[in-house]
Symmetry: C2
Subunit: 151 residues, 2 copies
Amino acid sequence: MAPAVRAWTRLLRAHASTTRLLNTQLQLEHGLTINDYEALHLLSRAEERRMKRVDLARRIVLTPSGVTRLLEGLEQAGLVERAGCPSDLRVTYAQLTEAGADRLRQASCGHVGSIRALFEEHLSGAEVEELTELLGKLPGVAECDEACPAV
Amino acid sequence: MAPAVRAWTRLLRAHASTTRLLNTQLQLEHGLTINDYEALHLLSRAEERRMKRVDLARRIVLTPSGVTRLLEGLEQAGLVERAGCPSDLRVTYAQLTEAGADRLRQASCGHVGSIRALFEEHLSGAEVEELTELLGKLPGVAECDEACPAV
DNA sequence: TGTGTACAATTGAGTACGCAAGCAACGTAG
DNA sequence: CTACGTTGCTTGCGTACTCAATTGTACACA
């Protein structure tokens, strides 16, 4: 079996296992899916806490329709609201509300803790860095990171 | 931001991008989803080309019901068939048919090619190995590999 | 021998997407 | 200014899952 295939298989499995775990935790404790969280998180550190829906889609790796549905839920929950763009009437921004920022704050501590527990229990600090580095080389993974200010 | 979070985010993105790509290719060219392929592949290298549905579920990281639905499709396509277990009437094996083996053979060359293209275009051989190694340390990722003979 | 617990598999109901199609607003070429 | 291609977003429809509940079997123990 080609080495690449092993890597690919493990990527599949790694995603499935970790996602399942983190998603159920996040959902139970805060009523958010991973993508909900991811969206809130991106918005929270975007300029003026808002993003074009298309850009959001690219960042979370979803289709535009996926974003529409995702934000639908967040809007109903009052965590995100729509804001028009005066210079281009086609675009509608997704704007984080105060409630959304609160909810994110509540969830983030536990969520980050879960992630750290998951990764740091099995990998050393250097290995985590190494993994980040390697995954970043895959197409479309790292490309937007610079645009996103570090915490 | 904790390093683990960066790693996690990239894992999410890496999975989403690569999966989307590989899935559409596989689907267009051979009418199989990634999980279809994965199931056929696992069966093909299992003893007597069959597995308990539960074991299959663990390997592809799916719930038992997910496996039922997955195999439903493969059974209708004639690629997999059911086989009872005489010693334990609860279990039904998923058994790869000749047609299933053929279909897998047809698909595998192109699919493996796509995977290699995806990984080896951006990562060196050593890096692929390294990535495999690191992903294997995540919980539940490497555990069954020994049971699966290398190609 | 019956009885309780554990397990394999399925089924029904619900969800989170993708794809294709559509609409409206933009940019540009004529 | 009009016509046309492009872009941002949404909608209808289909699909691949999950979870909870159910059925049938296996096994331990009184």
